[in-house]
Symmetry: C2
Amino acid sequence: MADNLTSRKQDYSQWYNDLVLKGGLAEHSDVRGCMVIKPYGYALWENMRDVLDKMFKDTGHQNAYFPLFIPKSYLSKEASHVEGFAKECAVVTHYRLKNAPDGSGVIVDPDAKLEEELIVRPTSETIIWSTYKGWVQSYRDLPILVNQWANVVRWEMRTRLFLRTAEFLWQEGHTAHATKEEAIAETVQMLDVYATFVEEYMALPVIKGVKTANERFAGAEDTYCIEALMQDGKALQAGTSHFLGQNFAKAFDVKFADKNNNIEYVWATSWGVSTRLIGALIMAHSDDEGLVMPPRIAPLQVVIVPIYNKDADARQKIDDKANALVKELRAQGIRVKYDNDDTTRPGWKFAEYELRGVPVRIALGARDLENNVAEVARRDEKTKASVSLDGLTAHVDNLLQEIQSNMYNKALAFRNEHITKVDNWDDFVKTLDEKTGFVAAHWDGTAETEDKIKDLTKATIRCIPLNNEQEAGVCVLTGKPSTQHVLFARAY
Amino acid sequence: MADNLTSRKQDYSQWYNDLVLKGGLAEHSDVRGCMVIKPYGYALWENMRDVLDKMFKDTGHQNAYFPLFIPKSYLSKEASHVEGFAKECAVVTHYRLKNAPDGSGVIVDPDAKLEEELIVRPTSETIIWSTYKGWVQSYRDLPILVNQWANVVRWEMRTRLFLRTAEFLWQEGHTAHATKEEAIAETVQMLDVYATFVEEYMALPVIKGVKTANERFAGAEDTYCIEALMQDGKALQAGTSHFLGQNFAKAFDVKFADKNNNIEYVWATSWGVSTRLIGALIMAHSDDEGLVMPPRIAPLQVVIVPIYNKDADARQKIDDKANALVKELRAQGIRVKYDNDDTTRPGWKFAEYELRGVPVRIALGARDLENNVAEVARRDEKTKASVSLDGLTAHVDNLLQEIQSNMYNKALAFRNEHITKVDNWDDFVKTLDEKTGFVAAHWDGTAETEDKIKDLTKATIRCIPLNNEQEAGVCVLTGKPSTQHVLFARAY
């Protein structure tokens, strides 16, 4: 299979597309910009969702579900929010079709025009805060700690599977608090949850930081983010957590009586990660042979492939041993499959599971059985070893953990090598073009300079890292005074 | 709380609404016909979803995700499907808003009109079969056993929370097979899965049957269904499983080469249950004091309420014992909450958890502790007993099982009492009006008679039960010959 894959060197972007398609994760649908998430890709998303969902619940959140549609006027209630989201969106204007008079099919019934158009949610702050108005009267009703798993639609003009699609799946947390401090603490807590998830489960190191005003969520006072680095040296925003201040409470008139019976506006946060994370996972870990899945969220962690010869008796022995192994591994909570499909050869299966990124492959032949061993191959390093069948389950269990750490450490080393401190414009441009990755540079703190740098280099400020070191310097572009290096990069 | 509830006798429909709203399950949103599923209602849905999802996976299915939008022309490709679904649907005609010239907000940008309108999926057969075309070439690609958890939209004019909403959540299985027999076996298998789920988890007995042509899914050759009976004697269709024949394969040109290299159309099924099941759950089990949740899917199975007196020392002892109990019950896998909120009184809590239908309530006071007992109340029978604290966890575990069976048996007895065999028109009408429930009657097998009976009585044929007894008779309306009794009822 790998023969048909484009290599990273040849064409990074095509390589990515090849992996998504040939790895069986997703494909384009007939609806422009919308993807079909195939069973293998969806199983990955389910694993990610289940871990995140547990982390949300462990931090006191509950799930709920709000309408898909948002009345058009709601978007306008928060001034900067409408600027950010109203522009490219799916607009429902009618609620009925009818038969075409000429019998050619169905047409929109002009009599069924909505009084007010509905927008397919691009994000749900407005419909949720209009709901919270009914839920909050006093401090006793706070905090509200609610999360929603949902589909959202943003009418992107240029789409890429997982990374930027018109419809995508995500979760959006929307919380309401009595105090500013509590809301900020929640914002930071959820950023930490995201960072923990991406680092410990996706094996992908992230930098936690705050966005500049330019890159802030439309309607937020502050946007916290985690930024990851892809193998081509471009950054990818892997999750955001927004402190929304009282903006949406004011837009939707959500007030509460505090303990002293003073009436105050409620404080808000929102935070989300999406199927975009799957794009990050692919681009951070995969290689020219295919996907490389981190064991903790891999849909399939171990595959066992029989190497049959023509001896029916030997064949039966292999099947028996493999089935026993499957049972043992499953009992350890390991996701394993025995692929004894007769219609494909072992070599084809090897390539196929390599392409799909299954962390561990066990091959089992008649001679192996005689020697009481199996051939165990690891996907991350593409090495294999002959391992005793005694204690194989424990060996595999350890190996999965080792692969998980190894993948994280490799990504971390790559990321750390690709944070470059520069102190003049020539180095800034040169680093971006040649070395790529994050460029840490002094910046004068103005939106104008940020815009100009973006125009000149396509690099944006990915974030101002949390607890960033403060040191006097001068802006890499304007020479004006600056107090800290911030992280620039070209980004997805 | 119960004081504010409408009783079933007073106004069944209002009683239902009161339970949904005051029980904290859902509420109307600002978007006509769309509901907000509140955390308690969503937790119930999650429990239902998780059980069903496991049953689907245990029968070999995988989840995937297909686009929210369906090109308008796709609906027309299957002739009866478009009749059933194109009429009342949300139509996306534009993909951009812009600022109103008068500064009054945002308006639809007339320049951003879609070439072809998109329909928000009312069901996904068309978009899925257009996708399957790319997945199937040979018999080796079959069967496809895929399920999707998704939101769908049907523009209902009269909506009721959970029972009939414009947007609802559901799952839709879509499978593709090489033979007719295999597809029919799949249809029946999934009907059995639904029946098992509804009976064993929701404690609600169902009748399995086949719909008449009138009541068939638009595009199906046969619709299998499970029908449940509500406390007001009306039936509710709790799930459907469709044998689609080759209709969608023909509409989307999905063919495969069989083992002999003959090119054939693929055979299809689809099957679904939705958040409507929550409506059935409420109407089948609840009483005038509130909801009654079947233990196996109850969001909360046990609540412990402390009965404090003013002695701080006694208070501490109650807290300690309650926390130890929580730990023990959780270790048994029981969903339990200790409600020691100081701002509400025990009596208020009792009513609140009664309203919410929590199966078991444990009250714990100082005197109870002295006597080494707790007061254990069961929601279904509204009885309470003093139970020794020794072995309380085992007692509760048994009690939950007993409540689950008791709820099922009560519903079963009610349902069985409400299946009435009638052999003439007067009895038919009288039974429908006075006794209510299912009426088993001979029917001449024609759509005309079925329609006429519906016009006269509002009763429809809910199903022809599977393995229905064959016996000669005459149609209750027309007197024409008939071979079997079929089940009529007024229905939700």
